[in-house]
């Protein structure tokens, strides 16, 4: 997706949202069961699976923190606080569960003696749950495949992103949407309506350029050349009035509307360009170049 100005790409790939959401839900469910049901009445293997669910939640939280952590950005540090708290709560829950029940000798049977001893001793639960987390994740992934998720969604959720620590995709450079001028804003409308031609550079930023914007800029350039004092007056007036209106235009639908509203002005600008400029189309075409156009004395012409 093309982003504008200071926007950042999503830290979790949106197509993996379902996987991440279900794992988070299972983790919360595991927490609720362990916290609010009496452990003594709970089957040991079920309790172990609940701890496994907590581990999956912890893994998700740690990955979130690794993905977004940036020591220089206080916003990202604040966004790490909730996952950190979840990890702490999960650790405390596991600790409480382990301390609640002790080894029961009377449950030891002969056939599965070792297994029963292992499961009845709650101090074994954390590491058994750690091993059980893998099959639990497998079951969740298998179910999620039925809902269109990929088997490796849990990993791709972090890697198929751009701009973050675990990202492996390279996103296109953000386009600068000038929030000062109406024609620049209008160029950000729907492509079928505003008809963008190419990108250009404005104040060092990449911007979308359409014919309306080029005509408006060419007209301003002509005005600056022929009537510098009048241009200064118009520019000051527009800087004062244009800015408060344009900065509120964020939706492409409003940009489309602005494009249509500016259409009569575009025709007036075009009329003046054809009236007072010998080569109006050349002037329109060279607006917002990516690099400074070569001058007659430059090396470009000397080589030719």
């Amino acid at each position: 997706m093309q982003l504008y100005n200071h926007e950042i790409h999503t830290p979790i790939a949106t197509k993996s949202f379902l996987t991440m959401g279900i794992i988070a839900l299972v983790a919360v469910l595991g927490y609720m069961i362990l916290r609010f049901s009496p452990i003594e009445k709970m089957p040991p293997l079920f309790a172990v699976l609940c701890i496994s669910a907590l581990y999956l939640g912890i893994a998700e939280c740690i990955l979130w923190c690794v993905q977004i952590f940036n020591a220089l950005d206080k916003d990202m540090i604040l966004l790490c606080l909730f996952p950190l708290n979840w990890v702490l709560i999960a650790i405390r829950t596991i600790k409480d569960v382990v301390h609640q029940q002790t080894f029961k000798k009377e449950n030891v049977s002969h056939k599965y003696k070792h297994l029963v001893i292992l499961l009845n001793n709650t101090s074994n639960w954390p590491w058994i749950a750690f091993l059980a987390a893998i099959p639990l994740l497998g079951i969740l992934v298998a179910v999620l495949i039925l809902f269109g998720q990929e088997p490796d969604s849990f990993i791709k959720a972090w890697t198929e992103t751009a701009d973050w620590n675990l990202s492996q995709k390279v996103a296109p450079q953000n386009i600068y949407r000038d929030e000062h001028y109406l024609c620049t804003v209008a160029a950000g409308g729907h492509p079928t309506i505003v008809k963008p031609m190419r990108t250009g550079k404005r104040h060092g930023h990449r911007v979308i350029v359409n014919r309306q914007l080029c005509i408006a800029n060419a007209f301003e350039q002509l005005l600056e050349e022929r009537t510098p004092n009048f241009h200064r007056f118009v520019r000051t007036l527009y800087d004062k009035t244009g800015y408060p209106i344009a900065k509120h235009i964020q939706s492409p639908y409003i940009a489309d509307a602005i494009y249509f509203i500016m259409k009569p002005l575009e025709w007036i600008f075009l009329f003046f360009l054809y009236m007072f400029d010998a080569k109006p189309e050349n002037r329109i075409a060279v607006q917002y170049p990516h690099s400074v156009p070569p001058t007659l004395n430059s090396a470009f012409y000397q080589q030719k």
């Binding site: 999503t10 949106t14 916290r35 606080l81 950190l84 702490l88 709560i89």
Partner: protein, 117 residues
């Protein structure tokens, strides 16, 4: 100092959510007071008297997750001795998680993350 911490601990088990809110308000009060003192010493208009109330509200929101994290770290090492205290902690945990989710969603909407591929 020890008495103050003991009293905070006592009140925390009686009313954990209210104690957390009060602690975050105290935290924000210290931040606002510091900003005001700096502003007065430097004779600047960065933080004025009319900014105190909105400042307290905003910084309370910012200090709340930090206070919750500190409480969480402390509770990891202190085990509640009675069943009542344990119950209070459980309620506090659920409320803390709800606040965490709300805060994260609110903060994500403030930073410029676009949740779209």
């Amino acid at each position: 100092m020890k008495v103050i911490f003991r009293k905070i601990g006592k009140y925390f088990y009686i009313a954990p959510i209210l104690t957390t809110l009060i602690l975050s308000f105290i935290g924000s009060f210290f931040i606002v007071a510091t900003l005001l003192i700096i502003s007065i010493i430097q004779n600047s208009s960065n933080f004025l008297f009319q900014d105190i109330l909105p400042g307290l509200l905003i910084y309370s929101l910012l200090t709340l997750p930090i206070v919750l994290t500190i409480e969480n770290i402390i509770l990891l090492f202190i085990k509640p001795k009675t069943e009542e205290k344990e119950k209070a902690i459980k309620i506090w945990e659920v409320v803390a998680m709800s606040i965490g989710v709300t805060f994260t969603l609110f903060y994500v909407s403030l930073v410029n993350i676009v949740f779209d591929d």
